[in-house]
Symmetry: D2
Subunit: 289 residues, 4 copies
């Protein structure tokens, strides 16, 4: 097998990571539109599985549309924020939920019966009413104030603390990374000793969410029929492997082509395939992981 | 609500941990038989969800029967070993699988097309054929030899390493604990730098396995209808909470009654209920977590 | 032995931690002045050994004087910043040193031949000249900007990264803690994978610094003649114990009287003595650790 | 500067690591005898600083002599076991000290007033008398029994736990490593939650021990006059750097020539020099780190 199209042809359903696979800090990965046009023509179902909880699936789709990829529908996007939402629906029925993130990210914690406040509004007086803390995005609050408030809230109150994006950092330019809310959660966890609940790849629950959507539509599908395509070993590939899916690592994001082998051997996380990109006209681009 | 029977009455399906809830190093928890007789009479479905991968569900059921609890059928037992088995079925189709554990535990990795060898038989010559390493039980191998062989195998080969019991230690008498295979996996992981795949509570995948069995039989069930009963905060309660279930901590295992509050506050892992035990005739035994 | 004065009488030299022992967020610990007057009258030498690298010994002494404790001279204060300074003197002879902290804290890295810049002034262009990164204080920079710049600097350049205060957090009021620069260093270390050099208790090097000063003045002293008085198990007591000193835990800072036993048993870090405070007129306040 | 002899000429005192620098699993590093003959002829003082606490300096010297290097005297060997010994002398004056290691390693904990027992003889009855646990060597006990006994001892008793060799693993043949007692201590620490006291490089205390011996003989020496030669980044180089010494990484042990750059960049631990080996006739072997 020599090209990405033949690889996709071997599976009935495709899961894609978004950042580093479909788009990056510069916009769409050049040529990626062809991949989704081909999937559309083939009527091959696909889903975007993303650890981006900074905005709702609607707004995530809008962003892709604005970038020139108007084929992807909100209903095809599964974000880690949706798991946080389900958790609150099931486990936190009343009270005030404090969140770290922008107002856009707060979409995921809006719920009849719950009041929500940004972390900067937490204080010694209202902390008694708070029933959960949800970390959604690294923006939307002043770090010194917000992170210290989160630490103190968890010292005062024994409440669930949820992180909807377990990533530590993400590329913001060719040279630079930005610390993600997952990285901030490591510091809060170590300082307070409190255990966070993490949703998002590599955790199985986000794959299960996608899996149940696929099964509802295609009851005969098995895990062997699904390929997970991602750019990050510790989230996309580890999570896909663990869930029992075949996995394809693409080299348009977190891992540079020259580092792939070292990173795979160093971590012991091996994809089923390694591909230069998720663009379908690539020639000679695939080898077995 | 004052007793364990009323609590069970509020749910349609019950998940139980085994060790520390149903039995311990002394045999059955006194009186626990009544709980299962009542569940049987009420036709209330229940499942045992255990991180014990030391033997097959058949043998785990046999052990409970030998202890005097003959009501529980193998088909009601979901062990973390079953997840390891599913992983191998989906992801490791050929070659030789090395395992740490007793011959009884090797049940989980028997698979047409796979050869299996205990860790003590791994050497520099046959290591080329090995396609996965599975940690099942802390017995069945001499530690110095077996743990060193596992470390070297993972240095030589970039293969999946799976742990089917994430527990660090377990009580073996009133005063003593024994290190579990999960504890051994921490040392191997830190020395080799390789990332292990961990199955078993608190990871969601074992709950999903149970959830799919329940849904197949009772399609209308929701997560709100299920109660998870366990004795360990970091596995039963954290895992149940994360999956979206209500949780009941019982004080017949890992956590002594006098420590419950400190441990819950220290870890931030809060059960929905705290009960002195899972025996149904307890009076005045429940308070909200 | 029943009071703090008799305890001090048993040792020839006393080492004190500052924050939580001599002063806290409210100013001096009430009555502490008597302790230092008595030491002065007895001509018993003492030193303040502090993880506070936010300002020079001169300014640290000034702060104690302003609080009403004018007996302590700058030459009696040994701060973790002095170790960072020694490291730069010995190991970083040229180039530009970037620092996180206030201009006051930058005192420690001023050195003929070295240029110093605050973290906020680091950019892709000047990063080539940077030869070390020193974390001194949690103030003096905007967190989002400064912490992200530190992460990227360590990704671009293989240079020594030094933390002059290993504490994770410190009390800023009766109810609240603030994250210290040591806590921030944990996050940077985990995200970048780079190993930090940590100066300050419990590390031995700060005790060695004090020890060499004591030996220069009193050549016959032995470690058995020195008592370390502190409020924090993981820094003062662990560090003092490891260096071979007798240690006294006081309960006016990080550890509440009701938690002392649990914290000692939980951590396994046992002081030689536990005292309600370092104020010398305390009655019946000491028991063996 | 092009060869190892010129490098040594630039320093007044040399510190050497032993394993991986002077000898390995095959015996002496070929040619290393010349280096010590030259040092002897030049009357340049040198010390061996080793994390090997498996036997006394006398027996460590005997082993080098048996290998053909009879120039090194026991008084020139400083082992991490000597720090453990000093700790017991200062801090543990009575009772029974339990140890993990061979009878040879127990040399370090022999002390008038202390009874010593190997870990395998600890039980519920005698554990009340035990006043410290010391980890010296990975041999001398059956692992399953010994490691479990250590875990339970630390659960029952709040006593100091000391590790005299912080290494996780060491090469035992060209292809294989063996887990060291430091690696075992990580598992015990994680399972029990108790904080260990670690002696040996990279901790400063072993360098201080050597430094005080050097100062006693050569009062005018400064840290700039000393070179630390080692094969391991996380112990020899990090420890030497932190103590303020110039450091030379040699490639005859833990780090293969082809991996040196990646390992240095990945860890951020940079030696002052990188040398192919510590053999003095090497040509063109040195470049600046």
């Amino acid at each position: 097998m020599k090209d990405f199209k033949s690889l996709l042809s071997n599976y009935k359903v495709i899961f894609f990571d978004s950042y580093g696979v479909i788009r990056n800090y510069n916009g769409l990965i050049p040529g990626i539109r062809q991949t989704f046009e081909w999937l559309q023509n083939e009527s091959k179902p696909y889903y975007i599985i993303t650890n981006d909880a900074s905005r709702s699936p609607d707004l995530l789709a809008e962003k892709l549309h604005a970038n020139g990829l108007d084929l992807i529908k909100p209903s095809q996007i599964i974000s880690s924020g949706m798991l946080a939402k389900e958790f609150l629906d099931l486990k936190v029925k009343t009270g005030v939920v404090a969140y770290m993130g922008t107002p856009d990210s707060a979409h995921y914690i809006e719920h009849p019966g719950l009041e929500i406040i940004p972390i900067q509004e937490v204080n010694e007086k209202n902390s008694d009413q708070i029933t959960a803390l949800v970390l959604l995005d690294d923006e939307g609050f002043e770090w010194l104030d917000g992170i210290n408030k989160a630490v103190n809230l968890l010292r005062w109150r024994s409440i669930p603390a949820i992180v909807a994006n377990p990533d530590g950092a993400y590329p913001i330019s060719k040279q630079e990374v930005g610390i993600a809310i997952g990285g901030i959660s490591w510091m809060i966890e170590k300082i307070t000793g409190k255990k966070f609940i993490r949703f998002g790849k590599p955790d199985s629950q986000i794959f299960m969410f996608a899996w149940e959507m696929v099964k509802a539509q295609f009851p005969d599908i098995t895990k062997k029929d699904i390929l997970m395509v991602g750019d990050t070993l510790h989230t996309d590939i580890l999570g896909g492997n663990k869930f029992g899916l075949d996995t394809a690592l693409v080299l348009t994001g977190n891992i540079l082509p020259e580092d792939a082998e070292t990173r795979i051997i160093g971590s012991g996380i091996a994809p089923t395939y390694i591909c230069t990109s998720a663009v379908i006209d690539n020639q000679l681009s695939i080898y077995e992981g």
